[in-house]
Assembly symmetry: C2
Homo-oligomer: 156 residues x 2
């Protein structure tokens, strides 16, 4: 009984399949299981939570394989990695989800996604100015809730 997947997933699987083929990497069931699990998540997640949620299901893979596979998925742009806090890396699916950036609330710890076209022009301007070809960026805004009723704010 296959998991219900969003429509894009067929394409994603195909992309991964081709990538593995072109790079001469093996198409193991573990790799596809991890891809599937990643795309079933709608939020950011860390390695441990991915590992645990797979452990509960039919696919038990080792942490080492999770790390290895995520690296491959990042290489082929199907997954992106963020370093929000100080230690734990956060991952999220990347295919077909338009480029966005993150705002992190210091009160709630909530992560909100946003998109501003001006970032793209900054990329271009700065790249030209400094003589680099900018191919990616990461913008994080650190913010405070304006909502005074925010439960975390009250606890502080």
């Amino acid at each position: 009984m296959p998991v219900v997947l969003n429509k894009k997933f067929g394409v994603v699987k195909q992309i991964f399949n081709s990538y593995l083929e072109n790079k001469g990497l093996r198409k193991t069931p573990e790799r596809f299981a991890i891809l599937e699990e990643v795309y079933s998540k709608d939020d950011h997640f860390d390695v441990e939570s991915l590992f645990l949620s797979m452990k509960k299901k039919k696919y038990q893979v080792s942490r080492a394989t999770v790390y290895n596979t995520l690296d491959i998925l990042i290489e082929c742009d199907l997954v992106s990695r963020h370093q929000f806090g100080q230690n734990i890396a956060q991952y999220e699916k990347a295919y077909g989800y338009k480029q966005h950036d993150h705002l992190i609330c210091d009160d709630c710890n909530k992560v909100v996604e946003f998109c501003d076209p001006r970032i793209h022009s900054i990329q271009q301007t700065v790249g030209e100015l400094l003589g680099y070809e900018v191919f990616n960026h990461s913008l994080i805004l650190y913010a405070a809730c304006k909502n005074e009723n925010c439960e975390n704010k009250i606890n502080k």
Copy 2:
């Protein structure tokens, strides 16, 4: 024989002094020694390199104290922390050095600083739109050298 320090350092020391006083924190020689070491560096550095360079000099402090003091220095905006790579946190002095962002070259691993006023307006727009008060940000551009002679590029 005092180390030669840049002109701003007197002010910085004074700020730290007042901050410790206001917060009821103790003015230990270790804390000022770390402040001095931080401001003697002109680049980004990690905890280990700071610890080692102090170990060579008259001030030997423990790693725990380095971490503790850097946290205080960040609280009073005399130091800023960045998470460029995946693991090691990078620090840099922050007083009187105008707000800037970083471009990281994927070929050289060089870190270049830049400044673009448009980021500030993005902060404001997005904050208003999402109902948050944005108080800080981090923008990192990932780039490739246009210089074909870059030694790292040749090695790849």
